[in-house]
């Protein structure tokens, strides 16, 4: 197992590269989830205010 993580002496470079890959892609995958939540919340608030204005 330590052989595997050492990667023939290049472990630090390889695992850093894979860490960059995963961190960036996980952030990229989460961004639309947050964006969707924010959009739904904003729109719900807006529609509620509009409904309140229409019925005094």
């Amino acid at each position: 197992m330590s052989d595997f993580s050492a990667m023939g002496g290049y472990g630090a470079y390889i695992w850093s590269a894979y860490a960059v890959f995963f961190v960036v892609l996980i952030a990229d995958a989460l961004a639309p989830v947050w964006q969707r939540r924010r959009t739904l919340r904003d729109l719900a608030g807006r529609f509620k205010r509009e409904a309140a204005r229409r019925s005094p």
Binding site: F4, M7, G8, G9, Y10, Y13, I14, S16, A17, Y18, V20, F21, V24, L25, A27, D28, A29, A31, P32, V33, Q35, R36, T39, L40, D42, L43, A44, R46, F47
Partner: protein, 257 residues
């Protein structure tokens, strides 16, 4: 009209596309995860070490697929931008703008992993080699498109202005691709080729192709997810969005509508 053309027209309708993308998304994420895991296992554990580069070559399994996606993402963005400019299709504006951040993410991964590969193999993190420089220009083009899109208040005007910038930047794509042939600098030539055959053994190649598949599927998953929420914001005056938002509120805490 024939059924295919009819279906294509239907896809251009935001509510239809929103639902279609919602149905596709779990499958796309699932396929990307499974094929990505298989490819990573093949690349990190099963493929033999390179005779010259030892184990350091294993960075190729993320570097090359990310680099392909940086170009593919730009081409996809520009193609949708072109359709948006010529035929004013709202969906294509949204798709083009949704692919910019995903493409930029892949471009950043390409530059960072390439740097981490360059240090042990070339002895430097960075050099102004033709391939590296043109890939950096590609990242700046993505930033330009994203920045311009966010700088203009009206979403549709912003998308068309940014699409125009994206189209101008297409000139950089062949430069990135052929840079290793046109200029004889540090970056190695292509290992894998669609036509002329690849210079890599099968045991090293299949994980690479599997990861290329995984990143393509992931790209579309991310673009569709971004497109869905962008469509909600863009069509906020329409009944289908109002119904969907209200329905989502009434089943708060339940699964996504």
């Amino acid at each position: 009209m024939n059924p295919l053309v009819l279906w294509f027209h239907k896809c251009g309708s935001p509510p239809y596309f929103y639902r279609l993308a919602g149905r596709l998304l779990p499958w796309l994420y699932g396929a990307a995860l499974v094929s990505g895991a298989i490819g990573l296992y093949g690349g990190l554990a099963m493929a033999p070490a390179d005779y010259q580069q030892g184990d350091s070559f294993r960075i190729i399994y993320i570097h090359a697929p990310a680099a392909w996606m940086s170009l593919f993402g730009y081409a996809f963005m520009a193609a949708n931008g072109f359709i948006a400019l010529v035929w004013r299709i709202k969906l294509c504006e949204t798709l083009a703008m949704a692919s910019a951040p995903v493409g930029a993410a892949f471009t950043f991964i390409t530059l960072a992993t390439g740097s981490l590969w360059g240090k042990p193999m070339w002895g430097t993190w960075w050099t102004w080699d033709a391939r590296l420089t043109s890939e950096l220009v590609l990242l700046f083009l993505y930033f330009g498109v994203i920045g311009l899109y966010h700088a203009i208040e009206d979403t549709r005007t912003a998308a068309r202005a940014a699409a125009f910038l994206a189209l101008v930047g297409v000139v950089n794509l062949p430069i990135v691709h052929y840079s290793v042939t046109w200029w004889n600098t540090l970056h190695q030539g292509s290992t894998v080729s669609l036509m002329g055959g690849s210079h890599i053994s099968g045991s090293m190649l299949w994980p690479l192709l599997t990861l290329a598949f995984a990143t393509h599927v992931y790209f579309f998953a991310s673009v569709l997810a971004r497109t869905r929420s962008a469509l909600l914001a863009l069509e906020s005056g329409k009944d289908w969005v109002r119904n969907l938002v209200m329905q989502n509120r009434s089943v708060k805490g339940a699964a996504h509508v």
